[in-house]
Symmetry: C2
Subunit: 345 residues, 2 copies
DNA sequence: TCTGGAATCTGGAGCGCTCCACTGTCGCGC
DNA sequence: GCGCGACAGTGGAGCGCTCCAGATTCCAGA
C-alpha cells in the first residue's frame, strides 16, 4: 500500500500504521520474543515486565496479526464452516460452534454458499484462509468433491452420513426422530401419513428411509407416500398445492423440515384446510420459527448445540491426532409436541 | 551445519504438507517469482512457461496461502462483514456482497454476532484477520465503539445513518418507503394506523420518525401511535397480544420489519382477527418470507443488492482513496403491495 | 568458592508470499 | 556494428510473527 499518511487518526489510538509486536517491544523496552510470550500468556516473563508489556500493547492498540501468526506457527488454529445463510438451522448450529471452538482455542471462519458461489468456491475461500479443518453444514451428497477434501484437510460433514472414508460425520438420530413423529401420529389415530422429501438437503435420505421403516413397523406399508420436495417454504407450498388438488387429503404430513412445514401449513390453510383439525403437520429442526406461538409447530428437535460441539471436537481431534478412521456421531432427536398435531377427524 | 536442516516432519501432524510456491517452481523448472507472476495473471512470463507453471500448480493441488499473501502484500484485499445470522435481510445483503466484492478483487470474511459473542468480539476477529474495511450490518447506535473503528479502518454502516464522522453509511430511503406505505394505507381509507417500533435495530429510528411525518402529512397527527417492539417475530406477537387486549383494534399496522409483521399477523389471526379484513399489515424488508404465497405480505422492499453494492464500493473507495468525509448513500425503497392490506371495514 | 539450574530474557532464522532491482536475450533501426 | 527498449526470467529482502538455541542473572546447595 502507498504510504499515505493518514492526517487525522483518532487521537486515542494514535498510530497511523497498525502497531506491530516490535513497536510494543520497543515501547516496553524488551525484545519482540518476550512480547510474544506475554501476549500468549506463556511462562517465561517476570511479573513486572509482563505488566509493562501489557500496558504498552494496550496503549498502542496492538492487535496480533493473525496472518503472521498463522505463517509463523505453521498452524492457523482456524476452523472453516460452510453454511447456507438461508437455513435457520445452520444459524443455530453456527451460534453454538463459536463457543465450542473458542473453548478449544480455535478461531472460526464462515463461508456461505450463495448464487454464483457454490460449495467449491466457498470451501476454496476457507482453505485459502488456511482453515485447518472444515465443518460442512452444506454438502451435496451427489458430488463428493467437497467431501473428498477430507483427503486434504480434516472434514466433518453435518447432517448426514459421510460417504467418503476418513471423513467424520455428525448428524441427528433421524431414525429416532422420525419414528417418534410417526409413533405420535399413529397414537393419535392417523394412518394416512405422507412424507415430504427434503431432496438433496442434509438428512433427507435418512429421514425418508426412517419414515418408510416407521410406517412399516406400524403395518402401514400401504400408506407410505413420499412427495418430492426440498428444505424450504416453497417446497412445502408446492406439496400443499399438490395435496389440495387431489381427491382426498392425507390426515397427517411429516415435512422435510420446519421451513417446509410452514410453507405447507400456509398452503393448506389458505386452501381452507384446518390444521390440525383436518391435517396434522410435523416439522423437523425446531428452529426459532417453530416455537412461535401461532405457528406452534409440532416438530422434531435437533440438538444444534450438541451437533456443533461434536463437530468441533471431532475436527480438532482429527487435527491433533493425525489419521483416524471416519467416525459417525449421532446426536439425539426429540419430538416436541405442539399445536399442529391432533387426532384425525 | 544449519543449512542441512531437515524439512518439517510429515508424519507427526499427519497432514500431507501443503504445496508451496517453491514446490511449484521446482516442478515447473522456474523461479518462485515467475510462478507468482503467472498465478496472479501478470505479464512477464512467456506463453509456454505460463502453461507449464499452471500445469505444475494444478498437479500439486497448489493453493495460494492467503495468510502469506496478506503478509507479503501488506494488504489483505479482504472485507469484513459483521452480521446477525437470524436476520434474513442480512442473508440477502451478504449474498449480494460476495459478487460485488469479488468484482473489485476483494475477498469477504463473515463474522456473526451470537450469544456470548458481541459486536466487539466479532469485529475483533475480523480485524485480527486483517480485514481492511468493515461492513457493519449490525451496529448498536448507542455504543459508538464499533463505529469508532472507523478511525482505524474504513467502515460502512448499513441500515442507518452513521453518527461518527469519517464513517460511511448506506441505508434505505426509509422516509420514502414509510411514506409510500402510509399513503397506500390512507388511500385505502385507513386512519388508525399504528407503527410497531424496531427498537435498536437498524433503520428503526428513521422509520419511526418517517411514520410520524407521514401521518402528519395526512393530518393524522392525532392517530399517531408507536408501539415498542423489535425486529423479530416475538416483538410482533407481543404487539399483537397488546392490541388484542385493548378495546378497539387499529385498522392498520406498519410493522418494524417482515419478521415482526409475520409475528403480528399470526398473533392477530390466532386471536380471531381477519387480516387484512379487519386489520391491514405492512412489513418492511421483502425478504424471502414475505413473498411466500400464503404470507403474501404487503411490504416495503429494500434493495439488498443495491445496498450491498454501495457498501462494498464505498468501503473500497475509502480504502484506495485515503481520507474522505463520511458519506451517506441512500438506496431506493419500494412498496410492494400484496395481500395483507385492504380497505378497512 | 564453585557449580548448576531455574528464571528471565535475547537474537536470529524462517513460515510462504510479493515486490524491487536486477540480468540476460532478443530484434530492430540507424 | 551499436544502442536500446521490450520481454523473459532471477534472486534477495522483508511482511509480523513464533520458535529455537542460546545468554544473562541470581541464588540454592555442596
Amino acid at each position: 500500500m502507498d504510504e499515505t499518511l493518514e492526517p487525522q487518526q483518532e487521537a486515542r489510538q494514535g498510530s497511523p500504521q497498525r502497531a506491530t509486536m516490535a513497536d510494543v517491544a520497543k515501547r516496553a523496552g524488551v525484545s519482540r520474543t518476550l512480547v510474544s510470550l506475554v501476549l500468549r500468556d506463556r511462562p517465561g516473563a517476570g511479573a513486572a515486565t509482563r505488566e509493562r508489556v501489557l500496558k504498552a500493547a494496550d496503549e498502542l492498540g496492538y492487535r496480533p496479526d493473525s496472518a503472521a501468526q498463522m505463517l509463523a506457527r505453521g498452524r492457523s488454529r482456524t476452523l472453516g464452516v460452510l453454511m447456507n445463510l438461508e437455513q435457520p438451522f445452520h444459524a443455530e448450529v453456527v451460534k453454538a460452534i463459536y463457543p465450542a471452538a473458542a473453548q478449544l482455542g480455535y478461531d472460526v471462519l464462515l463461508s456461505a454458499v450463495a448464487p454464483g458461489r457454490d460449495e467449491h468456491l466457498a470451501t476454496g475461500a476457507l482453505l485459502g484462509h488456511r482453515c485447518e479443518a472444515l465443518v460442512l453444514l452444506v454438502s451435496d451428497p451427489e458430488s463428493h468433491a467437497t467431501e473428498r477434501l477430507g483427503g486434504t484437510v480434516p472434514t466433518v460433514v453435518v447432517g448426514r452420513q459421510a460417504t467418503t472414508p476418513g471423513v467424520d460425520s455428525v448428524h441427528t438420530a433421524e431414525a429416532k426422530g422420525v419414528r417418534q413423529a410417526v409413533d405420535h401420529l399413529v397414537d393419535l389415530g392417523h394412518r394416512r401419513i405422507v412424507h415430504i422429501d427434503g431432496g438433496k438437503g442434509p438428512g433427507s435420505a435418512d429421514r425418508r428411509s426412517a419414515y418408510r421403516a416407521a410406517m412399516r413397523r406400524h403395518r402401514l406399508a400401504d400408506e407410505i407416500r413420499v412427495l418430492p420436495g426440498a428444505q424450504d417454504e416453497d417446497a412445502g407450498i408446492a406439496a400443499g398445492m399438490l395435496l389440495l388438488s387431489e381427491d382426498a387429503l392425507p390426515t397427517a404430513v411429516l415435512a422435510a423440515n420446519d421451513r417446509c412445514a410452514i410453507g405447507l401449513m400456509h398452503a393448506l390453510r389458505s386452501g381452507g384446510v384446518d390444521v390440525p383439525g383436518e391435517v396434522s403437520i410435523v416439522g423437523y429442526d425446531d428452529g426459532n420459527l417453530s416455537h412461535l406461538s401461532h405457528i406452534n409447530l409440532t416438530t422434531v428437535r435437533q440438538d444444534a448445540a450438541g451437533i456443533a460441539g461434536h463437530a468441533v471436537r471431532n475436527a480438532v481431534e482429527r487435527l491433533e491426532n493425525g489419521t483416524l478412521p471416519g467416525r459417525e456421531t449421532v446426536c439425539d432427536a426429540q419430538l416436541v409436541v405442539r399445536a399442529t398435531t391432533a387426532p384425525p377427524r
